[in-house]
C-alpha cells in the first residue's frame, strides 16, 4: 500500500518541521546536521517513525516524546482554590521576580536539565507565579516552554502546510494566501485526469498544489517565466516518480510560437466515436482501484508516445535534484560543464518542450491557471485559444487593477461567460474557555481572482 510507506519518514524524505508557529522544510540526510532556532541537531532519529511524530531535541539528536509527558507540567498551573478573583494590581515588572539568574539558567541547561524540568525550576523560583490568575499562569508556562523546550513535530509536506510556511515570506509566492489558492483549485475544477496549463511564478506552489490534486492522473504544463523553471515548492512535495510524470514544462517566451492544431481538433471531432472510446478507456482505467496508479496515459493512445519520451525528461529532473542537494562547492563545478553535456541538456529541454507543445496545441486544455507577478492580460489572451469549450480559467494577481484590465479586455473579445472578479477574506480565532476572540493580527490581503468559463468557438 502506497499510503503506509508514504507515511514513514525515510532517509532522503522531504519533511516539514513544526516548532510552535514556526515551520521549516528540510531533506532528511543521514549524518547531516540541520539548524533550527539556533540549535544544531540531526534528523537521523526520526527515520522509521510515521509523519506526525513529536520529538524532543536531546544533545543534538531526536528522541520521540512519550505520550502524556507534557500534561504534568500544564497541571502545575492549575489552581484548586477559587482564584478567579485574582488580578494583577499587586504584580510589578521587576527583574527580581525570577530568583534564578541568567547564568544559573545557562548552567542548568549545560548540566543537561531538560526543557520541561527547566520550566519547572523557573516556576518554583518565580516570586510572582502563585499570585497570577489561572489564565496568566497558563500563558507564563506557554511562553517559557516556547523558549526553553525544543520540541518539534515532523510533518509530511502538503499544500496546506507549505502555504503556512510561505505565509512568513509571502513575497516569494506573490502574496498568494492559502484560501486564495484553495479558490484557484476549486474554481479551476482541478481533479484527477485533467490536462491543464499553469503559468506560475510563485515558486511552483500552484503547480505543486495542482499536481497534488491530479494525484498522478493527467498532465500539467508549467508555463514558466525566465530561462529555467523555478519550482522549489514542487520539490518540497517530494512527489514520487509516477506523479512527477504528470509535469511538463514550456517557457513563456515561446508561447507566441504555438499554433492551434486544427487538424487534431477536427480528427477528434469527426471520429467522435473513436475519441470517445479513448476517454472511456481512461475512465475504466481510473476505476481500477490503486492499480490505476500507473500512468493513465497508457490508456490514451495519443499520449503513449509522450510517456515513452518522458523517461529522458525524468533524468533531467533527477539531475536537477542532485545538484540542488549537493553543497555549494558543486554548483561551481556546474558552470564548467563541457560543451557536449550542455548540448545534451539543450536537446533534452527541447524534447520536453515538444511534449508540452503537443499537449497545448491540441487545444483541449481543461483549465488555464495564471498566477504570476506579470501583467496577466497578454498571457491569458495568448493561451485562451488552447482551452476547450465550457472550461474554467482562473487568473490570480496581487492587484485588483491587473485583473480588472484582464476582465475588461476579455469581455471585449467575448467568447466567455460567468466573468467574476473576487477576493476572499480570512480571519482566524483564538478559542479558549472564556477567552474567545478574533486573533489580534490578520492577513490584510491574499490577492484577487478573476474567473470565467469558455464557450465553444463559433
Amino acid at each position: 500500500m502506497e499510503s503506509t510507506c508514504v507515511n514513514v519518514i525515510k532517509d532522503d524524505s522531504q519533511v516539514l518541521i513544526r516548532k510552535g508557529e514556526n515551520i521549516k522544510i528540510f531533506r532528511v540526510k543521514k549524518g547531516r546536521d540541520i539548524f533550527m532556532d539556533n540549535t544544531k541537531f540531526s534528523l537521523d532519529g526520526a527515520i522509521g517513525y510515521p509523519f506526525g511524530t513529536t520529538f524532543d531535541v536531546v544533545k543534538g539528536t531526536l528522541v520521540k516524546v512519550a505520550k502524556g509527558s507534557n500534561k504534568e507540567i500544564e497541571s502545575a498551573g492549575k489552581d484548586t482554590e477559587g482564584t478567579q478573583l485574582k488580578d494583577n494590581r499587586d504584580l510589578y515588572d521587576l527583574d527580581s521576580n525570577q530568583k534564578l539568574s541568567k547564568e544559573e539558567i545557562e548552567k542548568l541547561k549545560e548540566e543537561g536539565v531538560s526543557g520541561n524540568e527547566l520550566v519547572e525550576h523557573l516556576i518554583e523560583n518565580s516570586l510572582t507565579f502563585q499570585k497570577k490568575t489561572e489564565y496568566s499562569k497558563e500563558k507564563y508556562i506557554k511562553k517559557k516552554k516556547r523558549k526553553h523546550v525544543l520540541q518539534l513535530t515532523i510533518l509530511r509536506p502538503t499544500t496546506r502546510l507549505l502555504c503556512e510556511m510561505y505565509s512568513k515570506s509571502a513575497q516569494k509566492i506573490c502574496y498568494l494566501r492559502v484560501d486564495t489558492l484553495a479558490q484557484i483549485l476549486t474554481y479551476g475544477n482541478i481533479h484527477a485526469g485533467l490536462t491543464l496549463a499553469v503559468v506560475d511564478t510563485c515558486q511552483g506552489l500552484v503547480v505543486g498544489a495542482v499536481m497534488e490534486r491530479l494525484g498522478g492522473f493527467g498532465h500539467v504544463i508549467h508555463i514558466y517565466h525566465e530561462s529555467i523553471p523555478n519550482r522549489t515548492a514542487v520539490e518540497s512535495y517530494d512527489f514520487p516518480a509516477e506523479k512527477m510524470k504528470t509535469l511538463y514544462s514550456f517557457p513563456l517566451n515561446q508561447v507566441n510560437t504555438l499554433t492551434l492544431q486544427k487538424t487534431t481538433y477536427e480528427v477528434n471531432n469527426t471520429c467522435g466515436s473513436n475519441s470517445d472510446e479513448a476517454t472511456n478507456d481512461t475512465s475504466e482505467q481510473m476505476d481500477v482501484e490503486l492499480n490505476a496508479n500507473k500512468d493513465v496515459c497508457d490508456a490514451l493512445n495519443v499520449d503513449k508516445d509522450i510517456s515513452e519520451k518522458r523517461t529522458d525528461v525524468e533524468d533531467i529532473d533527477a539531475d536537477k535534484l542532485c545538484e540542488k542537494s549537493v553543497g555549494k562547492n558543486k554548483t561551481k563545478g556546474k558552470r564548467n560543464l563541457d560543451e557536449s553535456e550542455r548540448k545534451v541538456r539543450k536537446e533534452q529541454r527541447a524534447k520536453e518542450w515538444k511534449d508540452a507543445r503537443y499537449l497545448l496545441e491540441r487545444g483541449q486544455l481543461d483549465c488555464l491557471i495564471v498566477a504570476s507577478k506579470l501583467h496577466p492580460t497578454p498571457i491569458v489572451k495568448a493561451l485562451l485559444k488552447f482551452v476547450a469549450p465550457s472550461r474554467p480559467i482562473v487568473v490570480y494577481s496581487q492587484f485588483k487593477e491587473a485583473l480588472m484590465d484582464c476582465g475588461v479586455s476579455l469581455r471585449e473579445e467575448g467568447g466567455m461567460v460567468n466573468y467574476r472578479l473576487s477576493e476572499t477574506w480570512l480571519r482566524e480565532y483564538q478559542v479558549l474557555p472564556q477567552r474567545t476572540h478574533p486573533k489580534i493580527q490578520m492577513s490584510g490581503t491574499g490577492g484577487y481572482l478573476f474567473t470565467a468559463t469558455t464557450l465553444a468557438k463559433s
Binding site: 502506497e2 511524530t53 484553495a182 476549486t186 496508479n293 475588461v408 467574476r420 476572499t424 477574506w425
Partner: protein, 336 residues
C-alpha cells in the same frame, strides 16, 4: 455521464447547466420528450442532444448557453433541501482537510449534497466518501443524485444519526467533516473513524458557542493544531465611474498665472502626444518643461481627467453581502 469527468457532446441523461446570465442558471437532466421553460421561451431537451457543452442554443426569444456541470455550478443550481455550504467555504475545507485523489473521507450530514459533490471530485478515482444523513428522504435523494451524476461508485450514503449511533466505522478515514448542531457529541466516534496513522477533522458551526464546546472536546480527545477561521468572499463589479469636478470658483492671485485649463489637457493620457505637438508650435521655450509634466502625469494617471469630470475604472463591491456563513474549526490527530 460522469459529473466529474469532462465530455464533449451532450447525450441523453446528462446533467447540463443552462446559462442565461450571471445569476440566472438552471441545472437540468436531459430527457427526450421533456421541455424546459426559460425566459426566452420553451427549450426542448431533445434539441440539446448531439451539441457540444459550451454551445449556444437558440430559443424562441433569445439564446442560452449549455455548460458542462462542475461541483461549483452544481452548488449554485442544486435543489435546496437544507442550508448548504458554498464554494468559498468548500474550497477552504478541501484544502485544509488535505483532500486529494485517494483520500477516504467521512461526512455528516449529507444535507443537499453541495459539499459531497466537491469532495468526490477531489478524491476520485481512487478515494471514497462515506456520507451520513439522519433524514431518510434526504439520504435517498442524495443517493439518487449521485447515481444520475455517475459518481455513485465513489460514495456510500448511509441513513444514520451519527450523534446517537456513531459512525460505525473504525480506522478508515483520512479526513472527517462535521456539519451538525452538536458536533462535540459525534467527536469520539469521529476520532475512531480516523485512521490510526492520524488525519484531519473539520467542524462547521454557525455559532461561536458551538465552536467553544467543540474545541474543548477536541482538546480532551487529544486533537492538536486546532484552528478556527472564517472565510468570506467579496465580488467586484468592474464599472466605469465618472466623478464630476467641483466648481471651485474663479482663480485669484498666484493661481491665476497657472491656467488650469492647460493642466487638464495635459492630464489626459490619450492626448499626451497631441499636447506635445501643440506646445511645439506655441512656445519652443516651454517644450522641455511640458514634456516633463506630461510624462509625470503619464505615470500617475489612474483614469482620465478633463474640465468637468474624473473618469476611471473601479472594482466596485456589492453594497450588501453575506457577512457570516459559519466558523470552520480544523484539527489534526497525530498517529496513535
Amino acid at each position: 455521464m460522469n459529473f466529474c469527468k469532462y465530455k464533449e457532446i451532450i447525450e441523453e441523461g446528462d446533467t447540463v447547466i443552462l446559462y442565461l446570465g450571471f445569476n440566472n442558471m438552471h441545472a437540468i437532466t436531459v430527457k427526450t420528450g421533456e421541455t424546459f421553460q426559460t425566459r426566452y421561451g420553451a427549450l426542448r431537451h431533445s434539441d440539446l442532444i448531439g451539441i457540444k457543452f459550451g454551445d449556444k442554443v437558440q430559443c424562441p426569444k433569445g439564446y442560452l448557453i449549455t455548460l458542462h456541470p462542475t461541483p461549483e455550478l452544481w452548488t449554485v443550481n442544486l435543489p435546496h433541501r437544507t442550508q448548504i455550504l458554498y464554494t468559498t467555504d468548500i474550497s477552504l475545507v478541501t484544502m485544509q482537510l488535505d483532500l486529494r485523489p485517494g483520500s477516504i473521507v467521512v461526512e455528516s450530514g449529507t444535507g443537499s449534497g453541495s459539499l459531497s459533490h466537491a469532495i468526490i471530485r477531489s478524491i476520485m478515482p481512487i478515494g471514497h466518501l462515506y456520507t451520513f444523513e439522519f433524514h431518510s428522504q434526504r439520504a435517498a435523494l442524495a443517493e439518487q443524485e449521485f447515481q444520475i451524476h455517475g459518481i455513485s461508485q465513489y460514495v456510500t450514503v448511509a441513513h444514520r444519526d451519527v450523534c446517537s449511533d456513531g459512525f460505525g466505522i473504525e480506522n478508515v478515514a483520512d479526513a472527517v467533516f462535521l456539519d451538525l448542531p452538536c458536533p462535540w457529541v459525534a467527536l469520539p466516534s469521529a476520532k475512531k473513524a480516523l485512521k490510526q496513522q492520524g488525519g484531519r477533522l473539520c467542524s462547521f458551526s454557525p455559532c461561536i458557542e458551538q465552536v467553544q464546546k467543540t474545541c474543548e472536546k477536541l482538546t480532551e480527545l487529544e486533537f492538536v493544531e486546532l484552528s478556527t477561521m472564517e472565510c468570506l468572499v467579496r465580488n467586484f463589479d468592474i464599472r466605469t465611474i465618472s466623478l464630476p469636478t467641483a466648481d471651485l470658483g474663479p482663480h485669484s492671485g498666484e493661481a491665476a498665472n497657472n491656467p488650469c485649463k492647460q493642466e487638464a489637457v495635459l492630464m489626459d493620457n490619450c492626448d499626451a502626444d497631441k499636447v506635445q505637438k501643440t506646445s511645439n508650435d506655441e512656445n519652443l521655450k516651454d517644450k522641455s518643461d511640458q514634456t516633463k509634466v506630461s510624462t509625470r502625469y503619464h505615470q500617475d494617471l489612474i483614469g482620465q481627467k478633463n474640465e468637468t469630470s474624473f473618469c476611471f475604472k473601479s472594482g466596485v463591491p456589492a453594497t450588501q453581502m453575506p457577512g457570516h456563513t459559519g466558523f470552520l474549526t480544523f484539527a489534526t490527530l497525530y498517529p496513535q
